[in-house]
Each structure stands twice: as C-alpha cells, then as structure tokens.
Symmetry: C2
Subunit: 362 residues, 2 copies
C-alpha cells in the first residue's frame, strides 16, 4: 500500500507541499547567473563563504556565523561548546528533538552529552518544564516551530520568559531554527528579534527556503571561532562548499519574501482538511507553513483513498502515511511554491473527493 | 613576500600543478550533460549515490562502499569501527598522518582514539615499525603515497608483508588512499590489487581526480553498514550529496586514464628541478604525480626569484613556500591537466631562469 501511495504521489503534476521536485534543475537554476570564473571557497575561506556568513549573521542579529554542510553537525557542536564552557554535559530539550530521534544518537556517541527530555512528547516545552529541571544544565535547546508535533509555537511572551529565566540561571539558550524563516509571519517579528532571545542559533536552507543542503550556525565571535574548529574535527570543513552556499543564497533571495504567503496558504489548506469529517490538522490553525494531517482510519484505508484522489486529480497529497495507532494515521505538509500552482477548481475536487471518501464515512 | 608570490602565482596563465582553477566552471562542466530532471539522492538513497557507491566498490574490489562529504569524516569513522570491534582505542599511523596534523585532533576529541606514531616523521613507516609496537593496536593506517614527505611509497612487497603481519596479529589495516589512483602506474597494480591488502579503504575525488569534494569509504558489507550509521551521527548524511557525487563521477571518468601521463610528467619535471643547483626534489624520482621541491635558501630569497620567473614567463611554479629552516624552504607540486598545457619552450625558459637565479648561485 505504501508503495502504491508513494508511486501515485510521485506521478502527480501538482503537489500540496514543497517547492517542486528535488532534481538537478534546482542546482542548475541557482547557478545560471553565476560567472564560471568565480573562484571556489577554500576550506572555509574566500568571498563565497565569508560574504554569505556575514550576510546571514547580520540578518540573525549575531556577531558571527559559520556555514555548515548540515544542521546535525552544527547543533551538536553548539551544544558541545556550551557544555565545555559550563563544564556540564547536560542539555535539556523536547523529547522529539531532531537530536533525539533523527541523528542515531550522535550527540551522545560523539560528544558524551546527556539530554534531559523536557515535558512530554505531544506538547510544547513550557517555561515551567525548564523551571522544574532538577539538575543544572549547560544549555536548553528550543526548536521553533516544534516540527514533530506539527510545527507548534509557544507565544512570544513565553519565549521571552524562557530566555530571561535561562539567562538568570546561567543556562545557554540555543535555537533549533531549522524552520526559523517560516515563523516570522506568525510572530510578526524579524529573524533578528527572535534570535535576540537566544545565545546561539542554527538555521537551515533547504526547508522553506528550498535550497540543496546546508546550515548556518550563528552567535558571538568567540563562539563561532570555536565552532569552526569543531567543524574541521567533524570533517565538515570541506575544501569547497559552494554548491550548497550559492544555492542557499539564490533560494534565500527567491523565497524569503514569500513566507507570509506560505503561512496564509497553510492556514487555508488546514481549514479545508479540517472541514472533512474524520480529518483534523495539528495544529488546528497553523502558525507557520507546516502542519500535520490526522485521519481517523487505518493507514491502509486512507492510503487507498489518497491514492485514488491523487490518480484522479493529479494533486499529490502525500507519498506516505505514518501509523499513529491501528486506526489513526498522519502525514506532514509544508507549504512552498508548489501549492500556488494548483488551480483552485482542481483543489475543490480534491477536497470534495476527500469528504466523500472521508475516513469517517461508511 | 608570501603575498607577492601568491598574487604572482594566481595571475599566471600556466601552472605546473593541478587541474586548473577551482572555480564554478568545474561544477558546471560536470553538470553540462546531466538531465535537469534527474532526481536528487535523498539521505544516502537513490540511484545517483547508490550507483556511484557500487561502481567504486567494484573498482576497489570491496563488497560495499559509502560516499562521504569528506575523508576526515570517513577515516575517523573507519578507525572507530575497528576500535569498537577490537575493544581497543589504539591506532598506529605515520607521525604526519592527515589525522594527526590537519584535523584539529578530531579523532581524539570525537572518538577518544589514541594514536601511536610509527617511525619518524621524515621517512616511510616500515614493517619493523609495526613489529616494534609495544602495545596491541586495533588498527594500522597506511597512507599511500605518504603526502607530507613528498608522496613516497614503500615497495609493494613491503606492503604485502605489512598486510600479512597485521592479519596474523588481528590488526585491521586501513588505507588512507587520498591519492590511491595516482600510485597505480608506479606499482603497476590495479586499485583492486592494492586494496586487497587492506580491510578498509578511503579514496578521494578532488586530488588527482580534480572533483569538487567528496570521498568513498569501502570495505565489507557489515563495515559499510556501520559506517553509514556513523555518517548520520557526524552530520554527513546530507539530504543531497549529488553536487559532489556527479562531479566526482564526471572527473573520475575524465582523468582516471591519465594517471600514467601525470606520473611520467612528474618524473620529467622533477628531473628539471634536480638539474638546478641548490634545488632538489623529494622523492628524487617521483613515484606518483606529486613531489616536494626543496631550495637551499631562505623563503624570502626564493620567493623573490620565483615571483620574478612567474611574472616573466607566465608559468605558476608555486603560490607559497614553506620555511623548513632559516635557509631551506619547500613547496609541493601535484601534476594534473595543467602541466601539459605549458609549451615546452616556455618551460625551458622557466628552468633556464631558475638555474641562473638558483638559490645556490651568488
């Protein structure tokens, strides 16, 4: 069933989520106006990498920034630096943090850092979770939005409280900002205003921005200098990172102004899902470009319904379904450029069919 | 002085070493015949990455291979796997191994692996150095050719002895094959025949091959499976590695057949240097495409001479000089495509001037 759904999804000309197929054209488009004589960055030096680091540091309101091939590498390193400075191998984060569930325990295996899981998996971390910590921690990592629960956000006031409390307690506050750009419209704050609450910040260039890969880690000058040493230790200080940097910069310029459009589209699309019986989104009203869609039926049954709709309408809804229980399944949507390409009347047909074939109807 | 030499080098239309300027054109050339619709690899899966891994595994005569963004990451991981299997945190390698001098102690800091330095810095590791080890080690790393001493090689017979001895002793033998392709003409052996002596092998695609970045780690199926888990831990399992893979494959096909030409050219060029008084190469007769050039005068004096020759002939000899002592300095040459582009009569002028301006003449 999963394979059929996936195949069906791959064949659809339209998609609800994303910025189009991740193919070689994404790279060639980014390179089309670059002079072939432009020289490569060399082991972290040279205008291509230094100019981009300076540009993003400024946008994030931090002294300095360093480009990394991946966020996995960038964040482990940030937490290691805070652990070293506090001489404390404890970090506190959400139970579904990327570091906890997607990195094969790299933080523990490579850095011997022990995470304390804050709160419970199905909700956001709160200021009280942090106040309730029984042991001193070197750092707290906050992910905005919290991806694995649909991309939820605390209020900005609660973030301010968390920041203030951590600073009072001497706890370094790190932002997992994999989707930072995507939350600025909800908070009605600039990236800089959000990052001002954090000591260190990681941002990604291949989620909402739609680049190829790559991340920036930003903070104070001395923090970034230390991060560069660790980047070499990890084998992330490649002789040339320009394929990622040039595309990060190109797609940043192309899409950074569209985050409000994606946010509005996400709210509209979530409303459509929520109007179908047996279907609900988490969060109910999105606070970024993303949300999760839950169905009150088995993955097998929903897979059949979605495959049929995809085949008939040409709109890719999802290529997979995650089994939440025997009779609940879900998938994730992140709005990018692809959504606006779907004619409204085609979308109307999709949701008409989803209502008729709704998992709750018999 | 160094700056003048570097600037002068950068301006020359011809170069003794390398495969041309590392600019964006290197990437666009590699992509020119690739279909824009070709889909990206995704976190280590998909034909682009899997096909290349299979291809290189076969060429190296190993069961399996995994593509890494860097050799630094690949080699630390190889040594960790051997350390785990032997429950022994010791590795033995040359005092000037890349892991010892170019990785900010990543192996020690991330893996808590302790190196034992074999022999002395200015010569190759011998079978006796390994037999003289006073403690059992999990693995021995051999770099072929030994880059930091000009790219020297043991005889193939000694390599066979080392391999046999390590296997008898239960020591895993790892090949730092950053320049493996480049030594096949000297040994008159295939990459597979050389790799057969080793349990695990790392090869690079941006030295003689002239790609953008990237490495392959090869070994048995179970070894590579474990390496993939570590690759994720290190943050090397990028969503897309195709810019490096496609260019690695393109330049591999373009240059793998030219290694004998580079080797012959290196021998000829070394002979020209050695014919100048006060100049000698290490090794005297190259065994790969590379060698070091030593001058018996200060870096300042030699810099002035080289800058003048570069400015007058348009041939880039070197952009830097390493001070070996107050009156000895050196640089490295690795022959690639650039050398064959220099007209012989221009090269004659270069060496005529080098002889006249020779560091030993007054």
């Amino acid at each position: 069933m999963t394979n059929t759904l996936k195949t069906s999804y791959q064949k659809t000309p339209y998609k609800l989520g994303g910025n189009g197929t991740r193919n070689i054209g994404v790279l060639t488009e980014a390179l089309q106006n670059i002079d072939n004589n432009l020289e490569s960055d060399i082991y972290g030096s040279g205008p291509i990498i230094e100019d981009f680091e300076t540009k993003i540091a400024k946008i994030l309101g931090k002294q300095s920034a360093v480009f990394f091939p991946s966020g996995t590498m960038a964040q482990q390193i940030a937490l290691r630096i805070w652990a070293d400075r506090k001489e404390n191998q404890l970090v506190a984060y959400h139970p579904l943090s990327h570091l906890e569930i997607h990195e094969q325990d790299g933080l523990k295996e490579l850095q011997q850092i022990t995470p304390i899981l804050l709160g419970t998996a199905n909700r956001l971390v709160t200021i009280d979770d942090i106040k309730d910590l029984r042991e001193p921690v070197a750092s707290v990592l906050i992910e905005l939005p919290q991806r694995e629960i649909g991309g939820q956000l605390p209020s900005f006031e609660e973030l301010e409280e968390i920041s203030e409390y951590c600073h009072e307690q001497g706890i370094s506050l790190h932002l997992d900002g994999a989707r930072l750009w995507e939350i600025t419209p909800f908070y009605q704050k600039s990236a800089e205003e959000i990052c001002a609450l954090f000591d260190s910040v990681y941002v990604s260039f291949y989620k909402g921005i739609g680049g190829i890969a790559g991340a920036i880690l930003a903070g104070s000058d001395d923090f970034v200098q230390e991060a560069k040493i660790w980047k070499r230790r990890y084998g992330g200080d490649l002789i040339s990172l320009y394929p990622y940097i040039l595309s990060a910069d190109y797609y940043f310029e192309k899409r950074i102004g569209k985050m409000a459009e994606y946010f509005e589209a996400a709210k509209g699309l979530a409303e459509r899902f929520n109007s179908c019986s047996g279907v609900k989104t988490v969060p109910e009203v999105p606070v970024s470009n993303m949300f999760h869609v839950y169905f009150e039926k088995s993955a097998d049954e929903v897979g059949t319904i979605l495959t049929k709709i995809q085949d008939e309408t040409g709109v890719g809804i999802s290529g997979y379904l995650q089994e939440k229980s025997a009779d609940v399944c879900a998938f994730e949507v992140s709005i990018g450029d692809a959504y606006a390409e779907i004619p409204v009347e085609v979308l109307d047909v999709v949701f008409k069919q989803l209502e008729v074939g709704s998992p709750c109807q018999n």
